[in-house]
């Protein structure tokens, strides 16, 4: 049991525990925050495994942007602040399928790798990763930029207020007006 193993186990436990709390918690905001914990732990795992760039990109993008976005959405959809009890659908199909998938994969992978030891590779520093990205993988890199552009445009278009509103028949405005406070 090397230091790496111990670190892997510890960070893994945090990641799995955080992930479990994400899907179990009845507080909407807390779920988001547990997701932060989980993603942070995964970033730590990347560090132990030697993928430095990936780890920091994970922190930047996932923890810094994606989770923030999710929390923004939670706010904008007027999520209840306290515990809510109508967050869940029936448990048994989820347990069956989720448990089956998780345990099945775990068994599969454990069976494949047993307790073999693999030496850690060289660290994936920014310089080395950049060589690979702009060397071997430049085409996917370009395509993914276009994809980002498409996602950007798509998100903006989807946010337009007049999408989905029916053409007015009785002179009512096409865009539903915001709710007025009761006088």
């Amino acid at each position: 049991m090397t230091v790496a193993d111990a670190l892997l186990l510890a960070l893994g436990a945090i990641a799995v525990g955080g992930g479990a709390l994400v899907v179990i918690s009845s507080h909407l905001v807390r779920a988001g925050l547990y997701l932060v914990v989980s993603l942070g732990a995964i970033a730590g795992l990347y560090l132990v495994l030697g993928a430095e760039l990936v780890a920091w990109v994970q922190v930047l993008v996932y923890v810094g942007a994606v989770v923030v976005l999710l929390l923004f959405a939670v706010m904008l959809t007027r999520a209840p602040i306290g515990a809510s009890d109508d967050l869940d659908r029936p448990a048994w199909p989820a347990l069956l399928v989720g448990g089956g998938v998780g345990l099945g994969l775990a068994v599969l992978l454990a069976d494949a790798f047993r307790w073999t030891i693999h030496p850690l590779p060289r660290n994936g520093t920014a310089e080395r990763m950049g060589e690979q990205i702009f060397g071997n993988w430049v085409l996917p890199f370009e395509v993914i930029s276009i994809l980002l552009l498409a996602a950007l445009v798509g998100a903006i278009v989807l946010s337009r207020p007049d999408i989905g509103a029916r053409p007015p028949e009785d002179g009512a405005p096409a865009v539903p007006e915001p709710e007025r406070e009761a006088a």
């Binding site: 193993d5 892997l8 186990l9 893994g12 799995v16 992930g19 899907v23 909407l28 779920a31 997701l35 989980s38 993603l39 995964i42 795992l45 990347y46 495994l49 993928a51 990936v54 993008v61 996932y62 994606v66 976005l69 999710l70 959405a73 904008l76 959809t77 999520a79 869940d88 659908r89 989820a94 989720g98 448990g99 998938v101 345990l103 994969l105 775990a106 599969l108 992978l109 307790w115 030891i117 693999h118 590779p121 060289r122 994936g124 690979q132 993988w137 996917p140 993914i144 994809l147 980002l148 996602a151 798509g154 998100a155 903006i156 989807l158 946010s159 989905g164 009785d170 405005p173 539903p176």
Partner: protein, 112 residues
């Protein structure tokens, strides 16, 4: 290091993600569970870098980067959809989404 450890961690995270997708009613929580799944996949990629000697070095890490980018794009678009749904129907739960056309409001009621 024992490679089985991060692999099993990734498998458990993936299972938790599936559980979350099938269990949660709130669309945003479903997206969070999807993020869990994607992270599990990323972990497998990075661990594969250690266990497998790919033709190109660091291929797993590169893939993981790409997946992160994709996940970000997906969350952006997905949340745009969820917010638009919320704006139109005032619902966020995935099982309240009506697949058929909604019944028209009765004429005379105030348009909300």
């Amino acid at each position: 290091m024992h490679a089985v450890i991060p692999y099993v961690i990734a498998a458990l995270l993936f299972g938790l993600g599936v559980y979350g997708v099938l269990r949660r009613r709130n669309a945003i929580l479903v997206l969070m569970a999807v993020e869990l799944m994607l992270n599990a996949v990323n972990l497998i990629f990075v661990t594969a870098d250690v266990t497998t000697a790919a033709a190109a070095p660091h291929a797993g890490a590169v893939f993981a980067l790409f997946v992160i980018v994709l996940a970000a794009a997906e969350v952006g678009v997905g949340l745009a959809i969820v917010l638009q749904l919320y704006r139109l129907r005032k619902i966020v739960a995935v099982d309240e989404v009506m697949l058929e056309a909604a019944p028209r409001d009765e004429p005379g009621q105030a348009v909300r």
